[in-house]
Symmetry: C3
Subunit: 250 residues, 3 copies
């Protein structure tokens, strides 16, 4: 039973994707005990999974899976594998390590539309839950992407079988995608991208002001991503109206 | 015995209030082993305590209590409870969970002076150590509070039985209370608030430059709050003159 | 065996010095399991070692040592000991606690050239691996140091037996040494300091943009320091071209 149970309303249902950039098992245990119920996806950021022993990664994916959280490796790792002609091997290893999902992105590499669609389809066929990502890691390249191009990518990815589409903001959340150089939301851009609804969008929102703004705009159902492991509890309090920024507003 | 015992002088006696925003038990064990002797209060930030299981919260309060640290739930949780007419239930649950103190604030809600005084008195009567907090979480509302109004609140809270009064700075420490938009101290404001002494004041000071400035101004006896769990040791080195910023100055 | 072993090239050989500012044993265990292979030096930042029990420090140094990582206490601690006439006692205690190295600096205190040379020589004679540091913790004092003076110190330290020389940037990495107020590299200064090669230099580089710039400029062999404990894995992915900033560039 939750502490202060009489104060809690029904649990908000928006998805939270947590960024695991290399947690050890003690930290994962702490995370699951404190906030495991509030995490839907655990992304092993970029290529971090490839710097650790297989046994350790398998132990982590097993812990997440047992807690009802879907672990998946970062899109950059998939991109590098695909770029080097190792995509089939990547999918085999990803499954062997206990990951249930993959992220298909082109944030770190150049990739034609056909390739992107094929990567998504192949991952689906291999039995993976597929999340795609729209946006470039390099701010200059990212700024070249128009809103219309982003919308086309979102729609195309969903049509090719992606379950969710992430809007890129990296770990830092500034000068990229829907955020300006100070990390504040560019409203016109956000509104355009969300024109067809937000149910299948995951907004990367590493900064608190971003989390607050998106919850106040779209409600507690909004899906948030790239949440640092030690901010998951804070995000949950924002969704529940238990932190000043959202008290009495959700 | 402390390492390098021959270098250590008597331990500084200023209080340190640490912000626990959702630590798991492994992290709490690490914290107590490394810096438990340097923490007086462990605040379970804002409403975080209400997102976790009762058993977990009780295990944490027991660990803090056994280490001589007073655990207490964040003021926002108390405010939400009071706002919804659950204050009595809140005090019962807070005691049942093993908390020894409460924080009475109006940072997240509007509250008349009478209500504030009653909340403090009731908590005292229920056997709690009471810390109050002065300041608004929303910067615009906070800026409306004059120095005189803050001083009146401090005096009134102490008269109604608060043991300490916290000067609000939130987790981020910028554009609020005695800090400007860059997190630097506004000297006139600080001097006015400290005119009657600082023994019963706890300055929220999450940023290192704030900790340094307050220690250099008031000495190692100054009470500091909202110290991140992984900064407690750093604060202790500042108090002891074992970090560059205070070497030879304390 | 590493996860995704087919994607990994030979391990980069540049040294990584990690800043331990007070980790507990659970966190050290996590660190060693996830990234122990990628750390060469564990610096117990500034005077943090002197705030903890001897048993705890000895347990930590033993863990690092067993993992092939050299633990050493921060330069500030050595400076304070020397300033107070406790240098011999400092070396005895440092050895007794299981540290294998020391850092000789004058970032927090004033020290004549002769003293500096003597401290280095004495530590060498006592069997320590010696790392020196060039730079002042106080930005104003640091700005007074010319490039030529820094180069002279580097050469003198190496001539007196230092194994490596660290270029100071503190924990924050801004407005100090080779970094401007925004934490960006001052190219002219860096080029001048690196004119005689970088094999024996360790660049403190706590910020990601600094790590990226140094890896892209000098290659994956570059020695990086003051890496936060939860950024070691990220730095390793940068060295391996597994994070966007270096994909296809290393």
């Amino acid at each position: 039973m939750l502490a202060y149970d009489f104060m809690n309303q029904a649990q908000p249902q928006g998805k939270t994707m947590m960024l695991d950039k290399g947690l050890g098992l003690n930290a994962v245990d702490d995370l699951l005990a404190t906030a495991g119920d509030y995490i839907s996806f655990a992304k092993f950021g970029w290529g971090t999974a490839a710097t650790m022993n297989r046994d350790l990664i398998a132990a982590k994916t097993a812990k997440y899976d047992a807690a009802g959280i879907m672990p998946y490796p970062g899109g950059t790792l998939l991109e590098v594998a695909a770029m080097n002609g190792h995509y089939d091997q990547f999918l085999v290893e990803t499954k062997a390590l206990g990951f249930k999902g993959v992220e298909v992105s082109d944030g770190s590499t150049q990739m034609g539309a056909t390739t992107r669609d094929e990567l998504i389809s192949k991952a689906r066929e291999a039995g993976f839950f597929v999340i795609s990502e729209v946006g470039k890691k390099n701010p200059e390249l990212d700024h070249e992407l128009t809103v219309d191009e982003r919308l086309d990518l979102i729609n195309s990815d969903l049509n090719h079988g992606a379950h969710y589409v992430i809007l890129e903001a990296r770990e830092a959340g500034k000068n990229i995608g829907i955020y300006d150089a100070n990390g504040n939301i560019i409203d016109d851009e956000l509104d355009a991208l969300a024109a067809n609804g937000t149910d299948q969008l995951i907004f990367e929102a590493p900064l608190k002001n971003q989390q607050v703004a998106l919850i106040l705009k779209y409600g507690t159902q909004v899906n948030l991503g790239n949440i640092a492991y030690d901010e998951v509890t804070s995000v949950e309090t924002l969704r529940r109206g238990l932190r000043a920024d959202t008290v009495g507003k959700v």
